[in-house]
Structures are given as structure tokens and as C-alpha cells.
Subunit: 197 residues, 2 copies
DNA sequence: CTTGTTGGTCAACTCGTGTTGGCCTATGTT
DNA sequence: AACATAGGCCAACACGAGTTGACCAACAAG
């Protein structure tokens, strides 16, 4: 074992020819998962989009679950956000989430799948647990209220994502980016910093 | 044709013995659809829950789509809500939605399915179009802003339903009923009646 | 008692899915 | 030139889904 490879350049990134198709498959998978959800996005359809054989998907990603896992690997990276000015954190968060959603279609995929798959739902929850709640704990009054405040913020942005990117309500898609920030920003700001009503 | 039946009592509701199993099937279907979504809620599983044969489901409801259609037939009936006091409409709406969701598990089913099925998504959208937007038009300033305001309200309550009943985030399920009304009520109130920011 | 209707079960069919293993063809090394 | 290997395709398998139609058991009517 451990023989073969290209012979000369082994450990270093070898820039295999297959990396191109690997990437093509992953891109097609992201599109299909985002558009159709887990069950309806068949491996055959993904392979057709990538113009390769279904068995290649298995060779490169093991099985369908593995493909999905790699397709939706993403981190919102909330701790990297600027905290001040403190009274702008609501608008900053909303703007950040909008950008995130418009640049990564795998987030839509994650929501579509999370609606029926507990594992995907857990993945979303982990963002709340590990990033949003700590943020709420640092920003808001009464640290023990942090889970509640963070849950309200999550429900706000996920609700928008649901109506706009998943259900695709025309009235929600018609909203402009800054219009959304103007409406939701104060809401998130209040959930995070206002005293308990 | 038109012969047969029970002979004596034809047109009137005959109280067939099968009505009981019909109802049992429908109840089991609602539970399964709410818990698992459309694809994962198999006819075989529903039939097992109802303790009858899968073929009975077909006999009574034609096919799986027909069963789902009857299982999620529901109307939120927003026009029947009291409008005044006008500054309480936000809290009234939130309270109404909470009650709706806790009494009818088919709403959770509709959301789970709507995440991947355009037909179910359209069903949800029709509520927005035919009930929420008209309500926003009557309540808010600038009637041409009604779709935007209604969309924001929909995103608010659907976001809560998503995190609480579909994704089942513990932090969201931990919120008390009146706690939710206290937080979301003012939000919805502002979306409906506040001047454009 | 016979008979036709109703409520129900059983076993099978068909189709699409994820998944597997064998085979072919370049490509690059010796 | 000979050959090993990586990249790729093809055909098939196994399985679970929705759906169908033949058959069976009560039971009420004639």
C-alpha cells in the first residue's frame, strides 16, 4: 500500500484532472438541492447536470448523504462582525444575513432539507447555539434571556428567508434589500437590546 | 346507473360504517404528514397507523395527492378577527396564529411540504394574497404598501412557526405563549401601521 | 336460502431510486 | 513500445414506493 499516485508529487496538492469534475458535481448538487430538496434532487439528475455518469458521484462522495454534507458545508461566521456602533447591530446583522443568503444557495438547500430532515435542522440549530446565543449574551441585558432573544432573531431572519427564498412569495421577493434592512433592522435591534416587555 | 346504494336512505348522509375508518385514515395522515413531510410519510406507514390495508387509502382518497389535499384543507379565517382596538391588532394577530398552529397540526404539515412542493407553497401564498394583504390594505397607511407590509407580517409568524414547530429549536419551543405575544405583537403592529421608515 | 352490496385483505406489478462492479480508454511513466 | 493507472461509462441489482385487481367475509334484502 501507499504505492502508486503520480509518482513524483504525492502529498502536495497534485491538481488532479478529476478535481474539475469533482467541483462540477458539487456545483450541480448545490443547485439541485437548493431547488428541489433532498429526496427530489436525485443523483441521476445531478449527474445529468454535471454531464457525467451517476456512478462517478458515488466514487467521489461515497453516497448521497456524503454529497449533501459536502454541498452544504458553510459557516455564517457571526463572531467576525463589527459590534459597534451598538445601536446599529440589528441592521448589521440583517444586512449580513441577506448577503449570506444571496451568495450561497446552499443555505436555501439547507432550509429545504431541514424542513423534513432532523440532521439538517440540527445543523441550523448549531449556528443558533454556538454563534447567535453567545452574541446575544454579550449584547443584551440579563444574560439568562439570551436564548430567548437569539431565538427571536433567528425566527426573524429565517422567516424572511423562508418566504423570500424557499416559498418564493412574490410580495416578499419584491422587497428591496435596503427596504428589508429598514424594516427588520429595528426589530432585531429590539429583540437583542430592549428590556424585557 | 344511479341504482344500488342502501336502497332506502340514499341522498341523505347515510352514516356509513366506513366513515369511521375514513376519519381514522385522515387523522393518521395528518399526523404523518406533519411529522415527516410528503415523501417520507408513506401510504404504507399511514395505513399501519390506521390499522388498515394500504389499498383502503387508495379506495377512499384516490391517490396520495388526494389524501394530502384533504388532510391539509384548512382556512385561517383572518377576516373574522376583531379590528379594534386598532393598536392591539398586532397582538391579536399573533395570538390568533399561535392558537391556529397549536390546534391544527396540518399547518405544520403544510409548511414541511411547502418547503419542497410548489403546490403547497402556493396554498400558503394564497392566504397571504386573499386575507393578509387585504387586511393590511384596510389597516395601514398608503394602500400600495400593503403587499410589502403583509409580506413582513407573514415572514414574522411563519418564521416563528418554522423555528418552533418545524425545526423545533429548543430555544424557540421554550418561549411561553404570552412571551411570544409580547415580543412579536409590537413587531407585527409596526409592520402594519407604522409609517414607512 | 340465496344473492348482491359493502368493508376489507392479500399478493402482485411497475417504476424510480441509490448503489455496485465490470469494462473501456486515454494518459503519462518506464 | 509496453504498461500501469486514473477517469469514465454501462448494465445490472436490490429495494421500497405508489398503485391495482383478484379474492374473502359479513350482512341485509328478496
Amino acid at each position: 500500500m501507499f504505492v502508486g499516485m503520480t509518482g513524483t508529487t504525492e502529498n502536495q496538492q497534485a491538481a488532479r484532472r478529476s478535481d474539475a469534475t469533482r467541483a462540477t458535481i458539487l456545483a450541480a448538487a448545490r443547485e439541485r438541492f437548493a431547488a428541489d430538496g433532498y429526496e427530489k434532487a436525485t443523483i441521476r439528475a445531478i449527474a445529468r447536470d454535471a454531464k457525467i455518469d451517476p456512478s462517478m458521484v458515488m466514487r467521489y462522495y461515497g453516497n448521497k448523504a456524503g454529497l449533501f454534507a459536502e454541498a452544504v458545508a458553510i459557516d455564517p461566521n457571526l463572531p467576525g462582525l463589527p459590534f459597534e456602533p451598538r445601536e446599529e447591530i440589528g441592521r448589521t446583522l440583517v444586512r449580513h444575513f441577506l448577503t449570506l443568503w444571496e451568495e450561497n444557495e446552499e443555505l436555501t438547500a439547507l432550509m429545504r432539507v431541514g424542513a423534513t430532515d432532523p440532521a439538517a435542522a440540527e445543523r441550523m440549530q448549531s449556528v443558533l447555539r454556538e454563534q447567535l446565543i453567545p452574541l446575544a449574551r454579550r449584547l443584551g441585558p440579563e444574560p439568562d434571556q439570551a436564548p430567548a432573544r437569539a431565538a427571536l432573531c433567528a425566527s426573524t431572519v429565517l422567516g424572511l428567508a423562508l418566504t423570500r427564498y424557499v416559498l418564493r412569495f412574490p410580495a416578499s421577493m419584491a422587497l428591496g434589500r435596503e427596504e428589508i434592512v429598514d424594516w427588520l433592522g429595528p426589530t432585531v435591534q429590539r429583540y437583542l437590546t430592549a428590556p424585557t416587555p
